[in-house]
């Protein structure tokens, strides 16, 4: 099968120097006189990697260009020695991605201000999988995987230093993970809410200005979240950020095409609001400055395993279990190991999109290798499966029994303000069809792997140490108290037939 990006051209490639060669204008503005060859009146560019070509028409395909090499494993062309900068390189996803990219031959650089480590300590928790200091991590990456990662301790809000770093490295893609990802954290109090929005929204805004000045041809691959969309009770489908052309608005016997407009956002916490604001800032920057970006509406992430992080104990990535930073599946597994019943909120009828760690990494690699065209803001729904929380608990319980653990499930008061029972129909066609994504990891597979790792004595001990941070105490209404438990039941005893089932569309 032909690699999915074989026919992409210079228009997509970060090495193509469009600025100064192309007349960019937003809709509705008067055109300026273009700078171009008078002979041909054609669009011509120069290539920052192949200066010896002179000026040429941007029609070389990835297949034809010697700078793009075919990677057999992904069946995708990859830019040789592509410079990728990861913002938030120390994090759960950042570190994992750094190793994956490094192993594939990318030139990895990145920043972090260790805020995640601080936040988790603030909670009185720690990562259940032990991780080392950054200097040790980098050294291990070099020893074990032969990687040279160019890391700098930096806060994204420090625009001057960020600009300096970007100027030095000139990344061809920027993966933006440098945001606080916790909904409960943003709901603790005013100070927390403000801090989250300041870091997330203003951090991204500053980044966009810096990108425009230093690396406007680079693609911004930004982590958003499925939570931006909310879960409309009408059950209307969750499109990939933008309405298709056959979406029609009808009103008073009149009709309009909604094609190309941003789909509604209905965030479910102040953290989710920050992601929505990011979306608008990025969208605007693409419009004004011809930046290009993928907004990744990622489902709930879970898991411990990639080949790279498993290669050595010093290379492990963090796993959080507390109510602020632990994601639901990660929390369920730790709860099970603690002998606690799994806490589902309310009825547990919430349906969410999920994606396992290695699958998410596969998606990121594919996105990095398939930049959109200049000025294009694109959105992908990055999920590999939809599942109801209630069903998820059953699955975790079932897997736990393979490890000799008898797990129960308890329903607790939902600390969040959200629709408990709602339909969910998600469209996720770009990753599988345009980018060649094939999920490789089922719920059962990764959860089994998680049990294997987390039941190891050293890690189990770490879990036990912090069992007091498990129960949700952060409520959306601001009242600080632990969620009340309604009932505890054995897996397999509830009616799972009733209620909504998530619907995931992956075919074009």
């Amino acid at each position: 099968m032909k690699p999915c990006n074989a026919n992409r051209t210079c228009w997509n490639c970060p090495a193509a120097m469009l600025k100064g060669n192309i007349d960019f204008r937003a809709c509705g503005q008067a055109k300026e006189k273009k700078k171009q060859l008078s002979e041909s009146s054609q669009v011509l560019i120069e290539c920052s990697r192949r200066k010896d070509l002179g000026q040429f028409a941007p029609t070389i395909t990835f297949e034809q260009c010697p700078e793009w090499e075919l990677n057999e494993e992904y069946n995708t062309y990859m830019l040789k020695n592509m410079r990728v900068m990861i913002l938030g390189l120390d994090g759960y996803l950042g570190w994992t991605l750094a190793l994956k990219l490094g192993k594939l031959g990318f030139k990895v650089s990145g920043i972090d201000n260790y805020w995640r480590r601080d936040c988790v300590m603030e909670k009185g928790a720690h990562t259940v999988v032990p991780i080392t200091r950054m200097t040790d991590r980098l050294r291990a990456a070099k020893e074990v995987l032969g990687l040279d990662i160019n890391f700098r301790k930096l806060d994204i809000l420090d625009r001057a230093k960020l600009k300096e770093f970007l100027d030095e490295v000139k990344p061809e893609a920027i993966v933006h993970y440098a945001e606080c990802p916790s909904a409960p954290y943003s709901m603790v109090d005013a100070a927390h809410a403000v801090k989250v929005q300041e870091n997330n929204v203003l951090g991204t805004l500053g980044l966009l200005w810096v990108m425009k000045e230093t690396v406007p041809e680079s693609c911004l691959i930004k982590l958003g979240t499925m939570g931006e969309y909310g879960a409309p009770l009408t059950g209307r489908p969750i499109f990939e950020g933008i309405f298709p052309a056959n979406a029609v608005l009808k009103w008073n016997d009149r009709e309009w095409s909604l094609g190309g407009e941003l789909t509604p956002r209905d965030p479910v916490s102040f953290y989710h609001v920050s992601k929505v604001q990011d979306t608008f800032n990025v969208y605007e920057a693409c419009k004004y400055w011809w930046l290009r970006s993928y907004d990744i509406m990622q489902g709930v992430i879970y898991g411990v395993h990639t080949d790279e992080v498993a290669a050595d104990p010093r290379l492990r990535t963090r796993l959080d279990m507390d109510e602020w930073f632990g994601t639901v599946i990660n929390r369920f597994v730790t709860q099970s190991i603690l002998g606690m019943p799994l806490t589902i909120y309310g009825e547990g009828e919430q349906i969410r999109g999920f994606i396992a760690l290695d699958d998410a990494m596969q998606c990121m690699v594919r996105l990095i290798c398939n930049p959109p065209e200049a000025g294009q803001y694109d959105v992908v729904n990055q999920v590999s499966g939809l599942i109801r929380v209630k069903d998820l608990a059953e699955t975790v319980a079932k897997v736990s029994s393979n490890f000799g653990i008898n797990t129960k499930i308890q329903r607790v008061e939902n600390p969040r303000v959200e629709a408990d029972k709602h339909p969910l129909e998600v469209v996720s066609t770009k990753l599988p069809n345009m980018l060649g994504f094939e999920p490789k990891i089922s719920f059962e597979k990764e959860i089994t792997e998680m049990f294997k790792v987390l039941t190891q004595p050293e890690i189990k001990a770490r879990i036990e140490e912090k069992k007091h941070v498990i129960m949700p105490k952060t409520r959306w209404d601001g009242v600080k108290q632990e969620s009340e438990s309604f009932e505890t039941y054995d897996p397999g005893t509830k009616n799972l037939e009733e209620g909504y089932k998530g619907v995931l569309h992956t075919k074009d």
């Binding site: 100064g20 060859l37 011509l44 002179g54 000026q55 040429f56 028409a57 260009c65």
Partner: protein, 423 residues
């Protein structure tokens, strides 16, 4: 002292200089002519400015500097590229020694690179920003209203506006040249005027036809250039040397010859859809295609994405092509004067990138490499075309040097070196 001044007049044939000197239109040049050696000079093959100037400034043939035309296909693709100063593979004379040079408006030297002295690139240059070294001179150039090139669009719209633009560009260039002359202590000063090529293409018939409405303005343009030559010459001292050159000649176009149309007619070239003009639309069955002006490339297997010509078949196809073009006639006149194989005219490490056949046409026939035309012959608004054998060379030097009997553009650097006393 003992400095070298080179004045380049793009596209000016020996015959024109000679004629205008004789008729008193260019008295300063007529004067100089008596004091030096004035000869016809062979241009590069093909006789295109980008190839010729590259040969002039490096002193080597395209097989060594790698520029074979105004545009080329990027190997491994069918994408057209326009080679620029980043593409050229041999060093220029000003990159080879430590002397200070002022290089003004040499075509195909964009983007400008660091060197000792001053450099502003000539066409094709996208912007002033990257055409000047050192960048500190940009404000001054803007102040002097320096223009890199004439606006050719005007030539298509109105000859009147075009002539105005020609003169304006010429003046700005000359004022800049004079400023730079006094501004630094240089060893070599190279000053090229490119408007001459533009006027030649658009208005050659205005020169040949005395009744033409722009005949007088054509002569006035050269008169002004002669005044500038006079000014420059007067600023030189007796131990300085003056070299004047053109990169190719110019002559009247009687008919364009669309080489790709010929190739199509004889089934060497097959295009997918007749209306689309893009080398990506060549079918795999294509055996040969042409690029401006008369460069023919075999669609070799391994060299191009849809290349199908095998090594063992190359000779046969080349002979078939030679046969076709040798027999090509229009109104009883043979179109092609000479057909070269790449080894005949090039040597060096870039021989593989060279065209497989190079056509040289008879007088009046303007070879064109466009894919758009289906008819073999035609005309357009351009009345002047490049000629290969009558560029000119003029050398006036106090040193005793040997000037080749039949000079060609590659010899210019040799002559400069001899004047400098290097071997």
């Amino acid at each position: 002292m003992g400095r070298i001044v080179i004045i380049g007049l793009d596209g000016v044939p020996f015959g024109l200089m000679d004629d205008l000197a004789n008729r008193g239109i260019m008295p300063n040049f007529a004067n100089l002519r008596e004091k030096g050696t004035f000869k016809a000079m062979e241009s590069a093959i093909p006789e295109i400015s980008s190839v010729s100037w590259s040969s002039i400034i490096t002193g080597v043939n395209p097989g060594e500097h790698g520029i074979f035309g105004f545009m080329d296909l990027i190997p491994g693709t069918y994408t057209l590229s326009f080679p620029n100063f980043n593409t050229i593979k041999a060093p220029t004379f000003w990159q080879k020694d430590n002397n200070k040079h002022v290089i003004l408006n040499v075509p195909s030297t964009y983007p400008a690179k660091p060197m000792n002295g001053f450099h502003v690139a000539g066409f094709v240059a996208l912007d002033l920003e990257n055409a000047v070294y050192p960048k500190e001179y940009i404000p001054k150039l803007e102040e002097l209203n320096y223009r890199i090139d004439v606006d050719s669009e005007k030539g298509h719209q109105s000859k009147e506006l075009f002539m105005k633009d020609l003169f304006r560009t010429l003046e700005a260039r000359h004022i800049t040249a004079k400023h730079l002359w006094d501004d630094m202590d240089w060893q070599t000063f190279m000053y090229v005027i490119t408007g001459t090529d533009r006027i030649g293409h658009f208005l050659w018939d205005a020169y040949e036809n005395k009744e033409h409405e722009f005949h007088k303005q054509f002569l006035d343009y050269f008169k002004r250039i002669d005044e500038m030559i006079g000014e420059i010459s007067n600023k030189m001292s007796d131990d300085d040397s003056l070299i004047m050159i053109s990169d190719h000649g110019m002559g009247l176009t009687e008919s364009n010859v669309y080489v790709n149309a010929v190739l199509r007619e004889h089934n060497f070239l097959e295009l997918e859809d007749a209306d689309r003009i893009n080398h990506n639309h060549m079918k795999a069955s294509t055996k040969a295609f042409a690029l401006d002006p008369g460069r023919i490339y075999l669609n070799k297997e391994g060299k191009y994405p849809k290349g199908t010509v095998k090594k063992e078949d190359e000779e046969k196809i080349l002979q078939e092509l030679t046969n076709v073009f040798q027999n090509l006639e229009k109104d009883g006149k043979k179109v092609i004067k000479k057909i070269f194989r790449k080894e005949d005219v090039y040597s060096g490490p870039y021989l593989d990138d060279a065209p497989d056949l190079i056509l040289m046409a008879n007088k009046g026939f303007n070879l064109r490499g466009t894919l758009a035309k289906k008819e073999l012959f035609g005309t357009d608004i351009f009345t002047g075309m490049h000629t290969q054998d009558d560029a000119f060379l003029f050398v006036k030097t106090p040193k005793s040097i040997k000037i080749p009997e039949n000079p060609c553009v590659i010899d210019v650097v040799k002559i400069m070196n001899e004047i400098k006393g290097d071997k």
